[in-house]
């Protein structure tokens, strides 16, 4: 399938906050109450439409356990967006956000769009982190914020799509250099860009080949 742009995402956050479930809900529109644990990285993809343009999201879902950081770090590079997830029913996952954020900022390109996600919003009775706290944290650190539920699918689409919109806007503003793949953005093989910079990397000479 052809696309105008391809955005690379990375999903990070403490273990057990629901990273893989968010991805599954987004890509397959289903919820698995007990998801297999992620070791290293797993991969998912979905097409979305923004501003009438097909955009492919290529999503890297990472293991949350500390030990795997050395592996997952290498996926920050070349990511245009990051979903930083915590679990609203576990305060410690919120407390670790600063560490995650530092890690992400240190290993990614400076323009990476980060979406802060408080997941498991369906478990209101077990809530340990107020929504306002998430909002404050996001504001202080310049992140977009949303509470989601991978179980009920609440805000899941929005979380992924709003991140993409932000990236898309940055492209329009010329913040992102779309010819530099390290930014986590690629131009689709058949896409003739409207932006002034001509894509030297995507000649589209072989139609149908979703070459990355």
């Amino acid at each position: 399938m052809s696309y105008a742009y391809l955005f690379k995402y990375i999903i990070i956050g403490d273990t057990g906050v629901g990273k893989s479930c968010l991805l599954l809900q987004f890509t397959d529109k289903r919820f698995q109450p007990v998801h297999d644990l992620t070791i290293g990285v797993e991969f998912g993809a979905r097409m979305i439409t923004i501003d009438g343009k097909q955009i492919k999201l290529q999503i890297w879902d990472t293991a949350g356990q500390e030990a795997f950081r050395s592996i997952t770090r290498s996926y920050y590079r070349g990511a245009a967006g990051a979903l930083l997830v915590y679990d609203i029913t576990r305060r410690d996952t919120f407390n670790h956000l600063t560490t995650w954020l530092e890690d992400a900022r240190q290993h990614s390109n400076s323009n990476m769009v980060i979406m802060l996600i408080g997941n498991k919003s369906d478990l209101e009775s077990r809530r340990e982190v107020k929504k306002e706290e998430g909002e404050v944290f996001a504001r202080e650190h310049g992140l977009i914020f949303m509470e989601t539920s991978a179980k009920t699918a609440a805000n899941v689409e929005e979380a992924f799509i709003n991140t993409a919109k932000e990236i898309y806007e940055k492209i329009q503003e010329g913040v992102f250099d779309i010819n530099n793949e390290a930014n986590g953005i690629k131009i689709g093989p058949q896409h003739s860009p409207t932006s002034p910079s001509s894509p030297s990397g995507g000649p589209g000479s072989s139609p149908g080949s979703g070459c990355c």
Partner: protein, 769 residues
Amino acid sequence: MGDSENGWVDKNEEERLGILAKYDKGREEGAQIDPWEDPAFEIYHVTDHYGFIHDTRLPEKIGGLELKRRELEIHRTDKWVKMFRAWPKYKNSDKFINRTYKGIPNKIRGWAWMHMLDLEKIKEEQQGKYDEMYKLARLHSPDIRQIDLDVNRTYRDNIMFRERYGVKQRSLFNILAAYSVYNSEVGYCQGMSQVAALLLMYMDEEDAFWGLAQLMTDPKYGMHGFFVAGFPKLVRFQAHHDKVLQVLLPKLKKHLDKHGVDSGLYTLKWFFQCFLDRVPFELALRLWDIFLLDGDKVLICGAYTILKIHLKPLVSRKSMDDVLGYLQSDIPNNFAMDLDKAIEIYRGCLDDLKRKKLDIAGDPSEDEFPKKPFGMIENIPKPVPVRREAPDEKMNKEIVAKRQQRAQLAADETDEFDNDEDELEETSMMDKASASRISLAATSVASSSIADSPRNVQRPLSSISNISYASAVQDSTGGTLERPTPSKMNGVNHIKNKSSVDNQARLTPTSESFDEPHELTRTLSKEGVSMNVNATSYSSQSNSSHASHWSSGTPTSIPAMRESFFRSNEKLHSSNMNDGGRGDSNVSDKRHTSSLGRKPVKPIRSSKSPSPPPPPPRSLQPINSTSTFISHEQTVTSTANYTSTSVFEYKSTEMTDHSAYGRSHDSMGRQRKEPPPVSPRKSVMSSISPQSSTGRSYISMDGSVSSVNIPGGEAVRIHVPYNSEISSASPAVQSSAGSSSVSPRNGLDISKNDPNRIKIDVSTNSKLP
């Protein structure tokens, strides 16, 4: 009596009639049939041969091919049973190897794996160890939270692990927790839960624990290298896998490179879990059969085989997403090849690799092997019992004075030690080393005597956090510390609450023995001065003096202790080792700080040491070890609520140990190997104990009795007054009195039989013979 008997008979009769009624009624309407008793019970129809539950009903009738396969399996099962009857004969035979490649019949699999992992032998060697580790884990495993999270999502689609907190889930939790303290370098790492769960499908809990231990540390499997921090073996195997592709599947390699499919993206689960979850379960089992037979080369060859089998579909997928999607879901869900055929191709691939000398992924690096002894806790994450408010200064002093008085009285009674005790207080053991003193492996007990004069300082009892044991051997003639050398060692540090009053009755009640090897030099070289190594030289006499002081002290929390340790380390670097007085003041300072109840400082691990060590006055190693040891002692100083029992054991090289310790370069061999000899170890051993091959020391610091067993040593008895005021004041006492039962059998029984045993008894009165 007669009434209750009648009641029982009545109940039986009632039950009998009930059963008869049910059969009389048959399946008529209203018949009470439990759902699980009925053939319509859905779980019967969706659960496969291996216990996996599927979303849809499985075919009720099996096809001709499957029928044939099952018949063959029954036939093979008989053959395997016969083979096991004469196991020693078949152990390394071609017949056994061929049959393994053909697939071990599922009913036999558990049995066969246990043989291949040599679990019977280990279990015998390590009797009681598993229980011990499990109990230790309950108190101190830092990974409980993560393990809980992961048990909850490991093979939940299998009937065995389906129920939350069901039998197998509990076993899984138990073995992972136990392993996390047994092998503290790895702890618990994600990926281990699947491996452990697989073993649990075929074995019971304790067997699976030792199975996991074997897989991790036997060089043949060496999974330790995969799961340990930095994943050194993963790096090596991925690099080798790339090389294999380059040579044998260059076209595919080019294709994957072109689409950015790095081997790091798909080999992780292949290598970490030997293909579990990444090929159909049945094929994974077949590969596991070969894994247990041949060791880790199955990973290299398996990876090559899978890619070779799926070469065409992979090359036809023209994007990263498609290629990864294929590897991630198509291969496990639709392997599209008969298993026997796949294994046949595997064998062909193995020949290819051998021909190209690519079947083995190079030499393992040092990092892939365990460096620390097993079965000890070093960085205790949280204080288990309660921290009480520290008594006020005045009261403190009174208590201390009282205690000192009693200690003095007791010490006076024990004439054998009078002189030396004083001596010890004033001099550093570095200077005092003499032939009559016995060098011993570092223990927490030993540590107390060095730094400070016990009379002026409270010596609160026991508890050691953050320690490992190592042996530093004091040369019996020269009086200098030898460089700590690799020695096979064991140790545990068990912390529990003090059980108050009748301490006297409990003689080293919580001794725990450890049968794990350790190479100190490596640890030292890596860790530098670190709390992980508490090497010390040990004077038997010193016991009396500080043992007496352990019975007193201020309760302090472990985090505070940690902090005090941290600080003391810093100070010690700049203080003279021989300056006992200054050591004293340091200690008091520290205790002071620690009782303020500061926030826990992160457990120290070498590099973050606050200040660089000064040039050592003598040789580096002894200083290192001693200073660590002193610092450690500070740690001891600050707790009173704990009782700790440390057991330390070392053995000479001829003793065999199951653990894959040390380096073995012929790791691919089929035959089980004895641990490779480490020569420096031998020399050390001989200096400790020329006559005996094994020595153990059991040091219980519960304020009641200490028993120290020193090879080639002499008997030492110490009488120490026991201050029941303090100990019973501890709120934690009652709560954990039960834990005193923690495997006393391990250490004690053995030590009783040891001719070289030295016993140090510390009791409330002086009635020792």
